[in-house]
Symmetry: C2
Subunit: 187 residues, 2 copies
Amino acid sequence: MTRWQPDAQGRLQQAALTLFDERGFDNTTVADIAAQAGLTKRTFFRHFADKREVLFSGSAQLVELFVSAVAAAPKSAAPLDAVAAALSAGSEMFEERREFASRRQRIIVANPELQERELIKLSSLAAAVATALHDRGFEDPAAILAAEAGIAVFRVSFERWVDPTNRRTLDEIIHESLAELRAVTST
Amino acid sequence: MTRWQPDAQGRLQQAALTLFDERGFDNTTVADIAAQAGLTKRTFFRHFADKREVLFSGSAQLVELFVSAVAAAPKSAAPLDAVAAALSAGSEMFEERREFASRRQRIIVANPELQERELIKLSSLAAAVATALHDRGFEDPAAILAAEAGIAVFRVSFERWVDPTNRRTLDEIIHESLAELRAVTST
DNA sequence: CGGATGATGTCACTTGGTGTCATGGAGCCT
DNA sequence: AGGCTCCATGACACCAAGTGACATCATCCG
């Protein structure tokens, strides 16, 4: 007889996603989430630093994916090409979880506090990519700008991809957006 | 005999800036700020939506400045050139308040919650610029990407400008960074 | 067998944020 | 002048997010 049900963290995430979806982020208390998962408020905060974080714990994985994709790009790749490789790697990951991704996105778009958290996660993602570019020998203003521009492309593309009327692949949209970026910055 | 001291909002901002600087954002309660300004906690929240917002009330002005600069750019200007004009307008504004800007920046950099707020303000600034570009006839993926890239340039430049070892003008740094962006995206 | 471990529960507390009603000087109308 | 309304502020009670401290008890390990 085990003392606790397994995967408390996963149960909390599941409960949070469900409740945020049903009633909205603001109308869901941490106590509600914990109760739904058969736990207490205090335990929630042992697994997640704050109420919002329950939706963002996967972001560390994304950072890892992007960083290793940048590191794995061919020696000759220009900064933006290395970033493009990372974005493609990311697109695969999301394509496999489209249902979850768009559900989560709907919740985030509906709440400014969650958008703030999303932005700071993307910002640290960009910083990690910039560091990875730096490791490839690109100097600092260039590395940061390539990373930031790349993440901007990713964000814009992601938004178009989750749109219900969209029928295209995330990767397709990303490459189109990258081309747009290049067009718009080359005068 | 007036019933209240004038400019409650300004007194609250001044008190907040001082206290955040002295003790840090986390070690300052809203009640502290209000007391320092000779007011109550309840009144603080009548002037600012939350504790962080006391540092960001000027951002609406910045949006206006950027948007009108984009609108005022020459007819023939490419998207990124119109954005560049906006960034230059912004640089003037900050150059006039360098002392305040760098003090405020130090406070923000020291606190993740404040960085989140900063990011969402920059994000809405980018959105406003994108709309202004749209009004000039540029279509949507291009308009958004030019705006996002431009704001990224602004952020990177601002960080370098407030660095105590820096001796250059914000406008100089911005133009250098714009050139870097163009170099890095033109393969 | 017994003690250490570690995830969870309990409880009390601080602080951010809000709803509601009271207060009283300033300004306006007659 | 007298009185009336306006409105920025105060007072008070309340909820929810987070945190610190200590208790509990199945499992694991020697």
